[in-house]
Amino acid sequence: MSGMSGTALAGARERRVSTGGIELCVVELGDPERPTVLLVHGYPDSKEVWSEVAEQLAARFHVVLYDVRGHGRSSAPVPLRGGFTLEKLTDDFLAVADAVSPDRPVHLVGHDWGSVQGWEFATVARTEGRIASFTSMSGPSLDHFGHWIKKRMTRPTPRRAAQLLNQGAKSWYVGMLHTPVLPELAWRGPLGKRWPRILARLEEVPAGSAYPTASLPSDAAHGAWLYRDNVRPRLRRPRADAYAHVPVQLITPTGDAFLSERLYDELERWAPELVRRTLPAKHWIPRTRPDQVAAWISEFVTTREEPTAKAPQQKAPGKYADRFSGQLVLVTGAASGIGRATAFAFAEAGARVVAVDRDGEGAARTAEMARLVGAADAWGECVDVSDEQAMEKLAAKVAAEYGIVDVLVNNAGIGLSGPFLETSSEDWKKVLDVNLWGVVHGCRIFGKQMAERGQGGHIVNTASAAAYLPSRTLPAYSTSKAAVLMLSECLRAELASKSIGVSAICPGIVNTNITATSRFAGVDAAEEKRRQERSSRLYGLRNFPPEKVADAILLAVVKNRAVVPVTPESKGALWMSRFMPNTLRRIARLEPRL
C-alpha cells in the first residue's frame, strides 16, 4: 500500500489488486475498522465520479473505490472482446472485497454500469456472505431488464407497449455502442473532447477540475465492451434465478434520460428486501446530488449494521416516504392549521422537520407529535416570520445544526377582513408584514442557501383562492396573497435553472383557526369577536380538513406543480378567473352577511 494519490480523492490510500491478469487501482478512505462501503462507478466514468460522495461517507465508514477494468488507472484485458463479461467483473469485485475487507461483508454501492454489475454481484450465488447490502442507482439488472422486455413483448397491452417504446427511445445509444470502431473513434476524437461541456449542459453536472478525468476517452472506448459483451446475451437469455440475496436500496432519479422509472415496477419480486428512494434529478446523481446520495447510503448502511437502530422505512409508512425520507423540511406557521398538518404529513414520510411559529409552545408541540408519527427528527422554533433579523438568525442556526433545507414551506399567514376604506394603514402593514414579507424573507434567506448548495430543493408558498378571487370583504388579504402567487411564479422561473421548484398552493375555505384570529376592520371589538366566532362556525360547517391541503402540498412538491388550487371552490374560482372573469367581478360586489 502506498500513500500516494493521483486522484481528486484527498487523503486516499491507493493500492493495486491483481486478478486474472488485470491490475486494478483501488483506493481507500476512512477508518478500516468501520464497516466497508464499496463504490463502483459506471460508464463512461472512473472512480472519481464518487469523489464528493466518498468524502462525505469517509467520516463514518471505510470507503473503498476502484477503477473497473479498462477504466481509469486499472489495466485493460487483452483482447478487449470477451474481457468485460459480468462473470469476469464479478471476479474483480471479489478480489477487491477480499483485499480490503477479508473478514466482513461489504456494503456495495453502484451507479450506472456499476449498478448493473452490482445487481449481478448481489444475485449470483458465489458472492453470498460477501455483501451486506446493495444500493443501486440508475442501473438495472440486465436479467431483470430482459424479463421486463419479454413480458412486454409477449403480451403487449397498450400500456406495456408504450412503456417498451419509451424505454426503447431512451436506449438509443446502446445500439450505437454496438457498432464496431465508430464509438472508439468518436470518444477518442471530438466526443471525448466535448463530453465535459455536454455533461454540464444536458446533465447539469457541475463543471469541476477533477471530473471527468483525463482518462475519459480511453475509459469510454474500453467501456463500450461492457455493452458488447453483456447486453445482447443477457437480454436474449436472462437468468431465471436473479434474486437478490441482500437488502437492496434503489435510488431512482426521476429525470433520468436513459432509464425509465417503469423499469423498476415489480422489482420487489426480485429483491424481497427492497427500500425505494426517489430523487428529482438527472442521471449523474453522485455528481449533482452528493449530499442526498451520501445521506441515504449512510442511513441504509447504518440500519443494516445496527439492526437495533430504528428502521426508517418501517417507522415512516407514509405516502412519498421514498421521496422525503431524511430530507430537511422547514414549515412556517406550523403551530396550527395547514402548517401543522403539513409538518405531520412530511413527518409521516420520514422527513426531518423544523416547525416554525411565533407560538413557540405550539411549534414545540408540532415537533413532538411529528416525531411520534415517523419524523426522522423534529424541532420547534419560535420565530416571527415578519422579523427579518430573526429569520436570518433562524437560517444560520438551521444551516449550522440541521443542514440545508430541502423543502421550505412558507405557510404562515394571518387574516384581515373588512372594506378597503375602513382598513387602516396599520392593518395593512400587519397583514403585509406576515403574509408577504414573511414569504419574501423565507424565500430570500433559505432560497439563497438552497441555490448556493446547488443540489436542488423545493419552495412551497401558501397563497390562497383569494389571490385570484376578487371580493369586497378581503381586499388586503387578497392583495397579499395575490402578491405571494406572483412572487412564486417569478421565483419559479428564476430558480428553475438551479433545479429548485416553486409551488403556490391556493386553498379555499379550510377549517383552521385563521378565522378565530382574523382581524375584522371597521367594527368594534365585540362585533369583531362575534364575526370571528361566526366565521369559525361557518368554516367548521364547511369542514374541509387542513390534512387534505397538506397532502396537496406534498403532491405539489413531488410533481413540481406551479399553482395548486385546493378545495372545489378554489378550483372553480381559478377556472372562472380564466374563462368568465366578469361573472367573478359581479359576484365580488355582493356583500356576504356574517
Binding site: E348, R365, T366, L372, N543
Partner: protein, 291 residues
C-alpha cells in the same frame, strides 16, 4: 322511565333509595368496562371487528344483559379515527383483521336490570405510541368538560371549547363523525320487556326514551343530544349524559365514554360529577401522574 329532574334531585339530596339508582347505573357501567377489558385481553392478531363485537355481546349476555342502548361496536386500525366515514352504516363492525400494533376501540351500551350505560374503551394490540399519547391527552378533556358543565355554560359552547383544545393539541375532533356530531347524549333507565328488539343497532326501548326526551326538550328548549348545533345552545340539562370525546390523529383514534351526572344542585361539586372515577382510563392517568 324516570324523570330527568328527578334524577337530579335524587343525586343532590342523596337519599338512600335514590342514590341506589345511581348505583344501578354505576354497576352496569362497571360491568361494561369489565367486559371491554376482558375482551381486549382476548384480542389476537387476525381477530375481526365482527368477532370482537360478538365477543362483547356474548360476554354481556352471559351476565344477564338482555337489552341494549346500542349493540357493541368494534373499530380497528384507521377505523378508530373514522377515516373515510361518510354514512352511519360504516360504524358497524367489518371483517377488518387486527394486526400487531394496531389501535382498536370497543364501544358498547348494555342495559342491565333496567339501567343503561354507554362506554368506550381504547387500546392497541401491543405497543402503539400514538394512541398511547392520545389517551394521555384525553385527560384534560375530562377535566374541562366537568369544569365547564359545573359553570353551567351552554353545551354548544363547551363543545366548541373541547374542540378548540383538541385543535391546540394537534388533533381532529372525531366525535363530529357520530350522528349529529354529538360529543354526548342523554342516557336513562329503560323499561325491561320480554322482547327487546333493536333497529340499526339501537335498542328500540332506548330509542323511544331518546325520542321522548327530544320531544320534551324541543318544547322546553333543550336537546338530549349534545352537538355543535343551535339546538344544543342551552345550559346542561340535569340527568345522565354519556360523554364521549373522541380524538383523531392521522389514522389513529382514541376515546373514552362514561356517564356524567348533572343535577340542579346549587353546590358546584354536587351540580355535576363523573358517575365513577374508578375506570381504566382514569386509573391509567393516576398511574401516569404517580410515575
Amino acid at each position: 322511565m324516570a324523570g330527568d329532574t328527578d334524577t337530579g334531585e335524587r343525586a343532590a339530596h342523596g337519599s338512600a333509595r335514590l342514590s341506589a339508582e345511581l348505583r344501578g347505573f354505576r354497576e352496569v357501567q362497571r360491568l361494561a368496562y369489565e367486559c371491554a377489558e376482558t375482551v381486549a385481553a382476548q384480542l389476537r392478531p387476525g381477530v375481526t371487528e365482527r368477532e370482537a363485537a360478538r365477543m362483547q355481546r356474548e360476554w354481556l349476555r352471559e351476565r344477564g344483559v338482555r337489552d341494549w342502548f346500542h349493540l357493541p361496536f368494534a373499530w380497528f386500525g384507521d377505523r378508530t379515527a373514522f377515516t373515510g366515514f361518510r354514512i352511519p352504516l360504516q360504524f358497524f363492525p367489518t371483517n377488518r383483521k387486527l394486526e400487531p400494533g394496531m389501535p382498536f376501540i370497543l364501544d358498547m351500551a348494555p342495559v342491565y336490570r333496567g339501567y343503561a350505560a354507554d362506554i368506550g374503551y381504547s387500546g392497541s394490540l401491543g405497543l402503539n405510541p400514538v394512541q398511547d399519547r392520545l389517551m394521555s391527552d384525553l385527560r384534560p378533556h375530562r377535566a374541562l368538560i366537568l369544569e365547564q358543565v359545573r359553570e353551567r355554560r351552554p353545551l354548544r359552547e363547551i363543545y366548541e371549547n373541547v374542540e378548540r383544545l383538541m385543535t391546540r393539541q394537534g388533533y381532529a375532533n372525531r366525535h363530529r363523525a357520530y350522528p349529529f356530531g354529538v360529543i354526548a347524549h342523554k342516557i336513562d333507565r329503560v323499561k325491561e320487556r320480554r322482547w327487546s328488539p333493536t333497529a340499526f343497532g339501537f335498542g328500540t326501548q332506548s330509542l323511544k326514551g331518546l325520542a321522548s326526551d327530544a320531544l320534551h326538550g324541543h318544547r322546553e328548549g333543550w336537546s338530549p343530544l349534545w352537538s355543535p348545533y343551535h339546538f344544543s345552545d342551552h345550559p346542561p340539562q340535569p340527568g345522565l349524559w354519556a360523554v364521549e370525546p373522541h380524538l383523531g390523529f392521522r389514522g389513529t383514534g382514541a376515546k373514552f365514554e362514561e356517564i356524567l351526572v348533572v343535577t340542579d344542585s346549587r353546590d358546584p361539586e354536587e351540580s355535576a360529577f363523573w358517575l365513577d372515577d374508578d375506570l381504566p382510563h382514569v386509573r391509567r392517568w393516576t398511574e401516569e401522574k404517580a410515575a
